[in-house]
């Protein structure tokens, strides 16, 4: 700790930080633009000028940039000094010369960092009356608007997009007064994290396009703390609602998980809740609409008859638990595919194993050697990919510390490190979007990857000297020599590392997950400390669902029970079974069952097969909890009221206590193994100020008494929310300190999202009274070591069978997630199902990218994408999504297929084509591209 004096008052500060960070951490107001806690300081905008003084005798002082000056012990600083204030006012005046006077029509207005800073700097009157620079804006795709005239050239956009997120298609162009931030030409921004530009930009150059198409000012949005349902990471979000529709999702700061950034699936995918594809009313077998009472009667009859239940990884803990209560634990079945169910059982055992630790996203950023096995994290858990991209900078941080350069000196640290990076090894079947920062990439068929991973384990353990015998001579993709080299470099990196990290996931298959755990176990023995092991499940509540299900109660068992007639009725919650099991098995089971009750908020193939379909609420319409990949339970609050006719699953199922979420959570913690600490996610009622609830609406919420005037002119009663600590009201305790129920930060003089610094104990650190969720599982046991079985790995082929290819499934950030694919903005980024082949394989079929191929023995036709990093014996298949375009049920395909060129014919009417596909290694014939 160091002591500094700011304007005569003394503060205890962290000397590792700079003056700007420390002024903000101490709650002082100091304007800035180019600095960002995740991106450090470059001293570009000159807005945070302060005076520093040599000693008490020094009356003149020196103007310095606070962001470039360490908060060293004994520093004497003045923010309020007349010269410093005048300097800051002059800087902002010159930054603003070409800024348009368009705040009333700008999406950023009311939450604009530039507005806040202009006011704070005292630049009230614009003297510049000359011609302003005007720019041509670009079409940046379905996610973002571009309005370059508003730019103040702080360079934050490219520092985030290029330096932090690894994007390559946005760059600073031209110079001085003409500086332009854009692409080479109009077109979709390629980075999976482009949406963050809307929050990173201090003004309205990059704004959320779906939001501005149906716009509401920040203060008119009804908000509540929520958790993203896009993948298993569980990023914290704040959805905003107005007039009954979801308008946008923004990042909600969580110091351990998402920090300041979301991925585009999370930010733009939630709009599915507004679509026409919602199930809005109860329906019977004939598709006739039922009233709520009729539906409840029918459901009661089914329950009286006795039914089995099928849960879901995309339904909340409460919904799954309510179903388990209703049908009994014996009759409660997994809603996961066979592969995922097995993977999750393994994942749960690893979460309880004391040999491992499960890293938070923040901890992943600090790893100094990473091995990713088989999982394409950019497409399955995108926020993890962004964290791994930061991890390669650990070496730069280490070098900087050695050279005594503060880590926040961004330009200096990059200059020092040059190309030096911490090791990141990617073992994957095809190319990934992290390849550009990887120190080692091994592309091979899944069986060869498994063999290579085993070789890493054996080599690390130091036991068998002939580990190279494990590596097959003939692997497609990488030669034995290349594989050996990759194994050697991975082992060297992991042994040298202080904080090694192993990443795998259910998409990579349970066998590879077992080897991942085995490697982590070997490392933890070597280093005598738990090794970080991140096993990523597929969906937002995969872990919570798996914790409630008995291991033997698989989906296949439930379907067999129905088709055998051992059970005649089934209740399925928020699950489209055609995504989980082969179509034939699902159809047979649902046809055999007398009663099929499906509770869901979307219309799916499964709700269409229901004898009773009941409409449930989407994630933003009720309070619920979910368990992420770490076993961390998080509470997501209700943002808006239920649409009429819909109810949460647990209310439909009507078990004891279900109407009150706290009592259902209490019951779950008492009855379900592993959930004992679940009630800790509930906010403490005693923290309320003077007994007041927390308002969902801002203190400036407008039109409350008029917003329903199109229906009736009398002023309706405010909706009452008895269950929650939050109220559908603008009245209540305005949060200034307590961050445990903080949806939308705001502080006097700070209207933008930058106001989060006012709620942080230290800038970029924890929130005061932060609710970070609760880790449900405790580590106590050594899980059994299970030897992986390479024979069951998909993609293994018999080289004797000519032309036969192993099937490996590809994930896409836009499309592989069931719900987000229905969002209108995401739909514009979807592509059709496709099969990717290596150039030699494609040549042997006489086909090129865009051609149609048929899977022999079936009528299934897929478009071809030739990808250079595909192993020769593998067909990488993206099955598409039923939300739009061509799709297939992945589980209907055999493990091995042969392909032939389809007779020339037009693609189907529902075809989306492949134009939206962004992959690093695609090749296509130039002649063909020119034709298009």
């Amino acid at each position: 700790m160091a002591k500094i004096t700011v304007d005569g008052l003394s503060y205890e500060v962290n000397p590792d930080n700079n003056l700007l960070q420390e002024c903000l951490s101490q709650g002082l107001d100091l304007p800035y633009f180019c600095w960002h806690p995740c991106m450090g300081s470059v001293g570009a905008c000159r807005q945070c000028a302060v005076k520093t003084y040599r000693d008490a005798e020094d009356k003149n002082g020196t103007l310095v940039m606070a962001c470039m000056t360490p908060a060293s012990d004994g520093a004497i600083v003045s923010i309020e000094d007349e010269q410093a204030s005048a300097f800051r006012a002059g800087v902002i005046e010159s930054l603003m010369t070409s800024h348009p006077h368009d705040c009333p029509v700008c999406e950023e207005g009311g939450e604009c960092h530039l507005q806040d800073m202009t006011q704070m700097s005292g630049h009230n009157y614009r003297r510049y009356d000359k011609l302003k620079v005007t720019h041509r804006n670009q079409d940046l795709g379905p996610f973002l608007n571009h309005e370059m005239n508003r730019c103040i050239t702080c360079y934050r956009c490219v520092r985030f997009y290029d330096d932090y997120a690894g994007g390559t298609d946005l760059a600073a162009q031209a110079s001085h007064h003409h500086t332009y931030f854009g692409r080479f030409e109009d077109g979709t921004l390629e980075s999976e994290f482009s949406g963050n530009l809307a929050e990173v930009c201090p003004t309205g150059v990059f704004t959320d396009k779906p939001f501005s198409e149906h716009y509401t000012r920040k203060w008119d949005l009804q908000v509540a703390p929520s958790v993203c349902t896009g993948c298993a990471v569980g990023c914290n979000t704040t959805p905003g609602e107005r007039y009954g529709s979801l308008r946008r999702v923004v990042n909600r700061y969580n110091s351990e998980i998402n920090g300041y950034f979301l991925c585009d699936r999370g930010r733009f995918g939630a709009h599915y809740v507004n679509t026409d594809n919602r199930l809005r009313s109860a329906k019977d077998a004939a598709g006739m609409t039922l009233s709520t009472e009729e539906a409840e009667e029918k459901l009661a009859a089914v329950c009286a008859q006795g039914a089995i239940g099928i849960g879901s990884p995309r339904a909340s803990v409460e919904a799954n638990f309510a179903l388990r209560c209703l049908v009994g634990e014996d009759n409660y079945y997994s809603g996961e595919s066979a592969q995922n169910h097995e993977a999750l059982q393994w994942l749960l055992s690893c979460l309880e194993d004391e040999a491992f630790s499960c890293p938070t996203i923040k901890e992943m950023e600090g790893a100094d050697a990473v091995l990713v096995l088989g999982e394409d994290v950019t497409n399955t858990a995108p926020r993890v990919a962004l964290a791994l991209r930061q991890s390669v900078r650990s070496e730069a941080t280490r070098l900087a510390a050695k050279a005594r350069i503060p880590s926040w000196q961004d330009a200096a640290v990059r200059e020092l490190a040059q190309e030096a990076q911490s090791p990141l090894a990617l073992f994957s079947t095809g190319a990934t979007r992290l390849d550009d920062v990887a120190s080692t990439t091994l592309n091979a068929d899944p069986a060869s990857l498994l063999a290579a991973a085993k070789a890493v384990d054996v080599r690390l353990a130091g036991g068998s000297p002939d580990y190279d015998a494990l590596i097959p001579e003939a692997s497609s993709g990488a030669s034995k020599g290349e594989t050996m080299q990759a194994v050697e470099s991975v082992c060297a990196a992991l042994i040298a590392a202080q904080e090694p990290l192993i990443v795998c996931g259910s998409h990579a298959g349970v066998e590879l997950m077992r080897v991942a755990a085995s490697i982590a176990r070997t490392l933890s023995a070597l280093k005598s400390a738990p090794c970080a092991l991140a096993l990523l499940p597929a969906e937002d509540n995969s872990v919570g669902h798996a914790m409630l299900v008995r291991p033997q109660n698989t989906l296949a068992a439930a379907l067999t029970k129905l088709s055998d007639g051992a059970a005649s009725a089934v209740i399925i919650i928020e699950n489209d079974l055609t995504r989980r099991a082969p179509s034939a098995a699902v159809t047979a089971a649902l046809q055999a069952a007398e009663q099929v009750v499906v509770v869901d908020h979307l219309n799916t193939a499964t709700t269409r097969a229901a004898t009773l379909a009941l409409p449930s609420t989407s994630f933003n319409e009720y309070e619920s909890s979910r368990v992420n990949y770490e076993g961390r339970a998080q509470l997501s609050f209700q943002v808006s009221q239920y649409p009429s006719g819909t109810k949460p699953v647990e209310h439909w199922l009507g078990v004891d206590g279900a109407l009150h979420s706290a009592s259902l959570i209490a019951r779950c913690s008492a009855e379900a193994a592993g959930f004992a600490s679940l009630p800790k996610i509930l906010p403490d009622a005693l923290t309320r100020v003077a007994g007041l609830k927390v308002p969902r609406q801002s203190h400036r919420y407008s039109g409350r008494t008029a917003m329903n005037a199109n229906v009736a002119v009398n002023e309706g009663k405010q909706a009452v929310d008895e269950n929650s600590v939050m109220a559908f009201s603008m009245e209540g305790a305005l949060l200034q300190q307590d961050a445990s129920v903080l949806a939308s930060p705001w502080a006097p003089r700070w209207s933008s999202n930058q106001s989060i610094t006012k709620f942080q104990a230290e800038v970029g650190g924890e929130l005061k009274q932060e609710q970070k969720g609760v880790h449900l599982l405790t580590r106590s046991v050594q899980s059994a070591v299970v030897e992986p079985d390479s024979h069951v790995v998909s993609g293994a082929t018999d080289p004797a069978t000519k032309g036969e290819l192993g099937v490996h499934f590809v994930q896409q950030i836009f499309g592989s997630d069931e719900l987000s694919a229905h969002s209108p903005a995401i739909r514009e980024r979807l592509c059709d199902a496709y099969v990717a082949l290596s150039p030699p394989q494609a040549a042997s079929l006489g086909a090129t990218t865009g051609d149609r191929l048929v899977i022999s023995g079936t009528t299934t036709e897929l478009s071809l994408v030739v990808r250079t990093q595909t192993p020769d014996t593998v067909a990488m298949i993206y099955p598409g999504t039923s939300a739009a375009g061509e799709s297939i049920n992945a589980l209907d395909l055999p493990h091995r297929i042969t392909l032939t060129r389809a007779p020339d014919q037009e693609a189907g009417a529902a075809s989306l084509g492949l134009a939206a596909l962004i992959v690093g290694d695609a090749v296509f014939s130039h002649a063909r591209a020119a034709e298009e």
Binding site: T168, G182, F184, I918, A929
Partner: protein, 179 residues
Amino acid sequence: MQHKLISSSSSRVLSAAELEEIDHELTLYPTKQSVGLEALKIVQRHQGWVSDESMHAIANYLELPLAELEGVATFFNLIYRRPVGKRVILFCDSVSCWIMGCEKNKARLAERLGIGYGETSADGEFTLIPVPCLGDCDKAPVMMVGDTMHRQVDPASIDALVEGPGNKAFTVDKVGGDE
């Protein structure tokens, strides 16, 4: 690196002469990406300007992101991203030349060629671009036409320039290449 599956604008093939010069530069720098600016200069020397197609070709050849290469190309005023005339007139209108009456010369250029700053004459011969200084203030007003420096320019020498090269009415000094 090519990321998008289908790109909306296409590439051209770099000529053997261009490639030879670029390959020579590659031997002088530690990484391929460092050669971006030199490659732009080489292509401009051969083509007169740098078209979108040339940008694609250079980016592909040097494995540089297009947006980054565009950042370099647009940062430097003398890399032309739009077609220019056969000869580019770099016209100094900074203080010394202004004192010595460059305005009259500019007016004469407009009168004879019908072009202002940033414009190309109808016959495609001349493009007029202002520059802040050419470092020859003692012989102001000055301008550069192609690689040739013109000193103590007056409206008569503008006429001579327009009517044809080789006229002895104005001073001509050949200056070296662009280094």
